[in-house]
């Protein structure tokens, strides 16, 4: 599966870079690289809710300090 992190202007300013780095770290720590990858994508059309993260066809609003929680609650159960 893929986590798509928007790197459009608004999302970049709200912390896409950090979120990508957090997801990459979590995937490595949890040894999920065979099942899950992080990709960047241009504007997901949800700039108001920056940072937009698309996972399993749904767009979520994630901030750098909620990225861990998002990973645990939304991503983990789908992947594992």
């Amino acid at each position: 599966m893929v986590i798509n992190v928007c790197i459009g202007s608004a999302c970049h300013l709200k912390g896409s870079y950090d979120i990508i780095k957090i997801f990459e770290k979590l995937i490595e720590e949890n040894k999920l690289s065979e099942k899950l990858s992080v990709k960047a994508s241009f504007c997901l059309g949800n700039c108001v809710g920056a940072v937009s993260v698309k996972f399993d066809d749904k767009v979520y609003s994630v901030q750098p300090d909620t990225a861990n929680e998002f990973f645990e609650s939304v991503v983990r159960e789908k992947v594992c």
């Binding site: 608004a10 870079y17 241009f42």
Partner: protein, 389 residues
């Protein structure tokens, strides 16, 4: 039709603040006029003489004045040096038309070099006497493989009193130009190499103002920079097609803009995360598009780079930054090195999220940013057109 590619730069005489050589360039629709002038003496006096001479010549010739009138005006305008009782400044006038035709008029500067693929060619000149000055005029045609190089006497004398008793000398300058022109060399590289050589002979302490100017003709490099979605979404495909059909390379700045162009081309936007930095969002890849980046932030960073590049004092320090592998450096490099003409296709759709309070890069910011970019690219002597879509 060709693009007239020019480059020039000077080394100031050691210990002086101002350069006593001056190059003035005028761009006309069908041609470019360059005037290289070397004022008597050095420092402020020489600088005033050279600046006046080249500005008068460039302005008058631009307006269609004859060479006689131009020289007459220069002679009667130049202030007379109180020590030498002379008003004197040399000049080399070069006018190159878009079709390759060239007119030159030379007065007391080292004569122009015509270099082509490792060979130096003689230019047939006619001697004329205007206001007791001996002027050499020539009319000839330049092809894509040739380059004209004009220098001030600081080049020919490079090294006098330092590493070379008699200076570099004309024959040796010619030999050097032949050497470096064996492979296709740009005007920018030519002047950089020659000036570097002079600086070496002068051991870093130039004994005279030293100027090199190079001109050649080549195909024009055009860039179509597409940023921001069109005002009316119904126009998206029409405009994308128009841009893709235009002559030159296509560059896309903006996430939504990139998505629009990818949709029109029926392909995916592949983002290259290896180019991501904490300050600049990564580049993406779309077939047929030279460079794809995020919008406002990347353009802002590129503007900072070009601004420093245009500032002679900051330029040397910015060169390594331009080589970095991030979207802003790539964009700036493209505009500096591979662009003669920039078409800006500026979408006027407003992103509601950017208007929100706390987001300081709103629509007005974007439009002003584009104007600033256009101004900076013009400052580099390139042609810019803005089209609002």
């Amino acid at each position: 039709m060709f693009f007239v590619d020019t480059a020039y730069n000077s080394i100031i005489k050691y210990g002086e603040e101002l350069c006593g050589d001056h190059v003035e360039q005028v761009n006309l629709p069908d041609s470019k006029i360059l005037v290289l002038s070397d004022g008597l003496g050095s420092g402020v006096k020489a600088n005033i003489l050279a600046t006046l001479t080249s500005k008068i010549a460039a302005t008058m010739l631009k307006e269609g004045a004859t060479l006689e009138d131009t020289i007459d005006t220069i002679v009667h305008t130049l202030p007379v040096c109180s020590e030498r009782k002379l008003a004197y400044s040399t000049f080399t006038i070069i006018k190159v038309y878009n079709d390759g035709n060239v007119y030159t008029a030379e007065f007391d500067n080292p004569s122009i070099f015509l270099i082509k693929k490792g060979e130096s060619y003689n230019i047939e000149k006619e001697k004329r006497i205007i206001n007791e000055k001996i002027i050499y005029e020539a009319n000839f045609k330049l092809d894509e493989e040739s380059m004209l190089v004009a220098v001030s006497d600081g080049v020919v004398h490079a090294g006098v009193g330092k590493s070379l008793c008699l200076g570099w000398q004309r024959e040796n300058v010619e030999k050097y130009l032949k050497e470096i022109s064996q492979n296709n060399i740009s005007t920018k590289a030519t002047i950089r190499k020659v000036l570097h050589q002079c600086n070496t002979y002068y051991e870093g302490e130039a004994g005279d103002d030293t100027t090199v100017l190079a001109v050649k003709i080549r195909r024009q490099n055009k860039i179509n920079l597409f940023t921001g979605p069109p005002k009316n979404p119904d126009d998206d495909f029409i405009i994308v097609n128009e841009i893709l059909k235009s002559d030159g390379k296509v560059v896309v700045c903006g996430g939504t803009t990139a998505n629009i162009i990818a949709r029109a081309l029926n392909c995916e936007v592949e983002i290259d995360l290896s180019t991501m930095t904490p300050t600049v969002p990564p580049v993406a890849v779309i077939p047929k598009v030279e460079l794809v980046t995020e919008g406002v932030i990347t353009i802002n960073k590129a503007i900072e780079l070009i601004k420093s590049y245009n500032n002679p004092r900051e330029m040397p320090y910015i060169l390594p930054k331009l080589q970095e592998r991030n979207a802003a450096a790539m964009l700036a490099r493209l505009l500096i090195e591979d662009c003669d003409k920039l078409n800006l296709w500026v979408g006027q759709a407003v992103n509601p999220a950017h208007q929100a309070e706390g987001f300081d890069m709103n629509f007005n910011f974007k439009i002003n940013q584009i104007k600033e970019l256009a101004h900076l690219v013009e400052e580099m002597g390139k042609e810019v057109k803005i089209k609002y879509i």
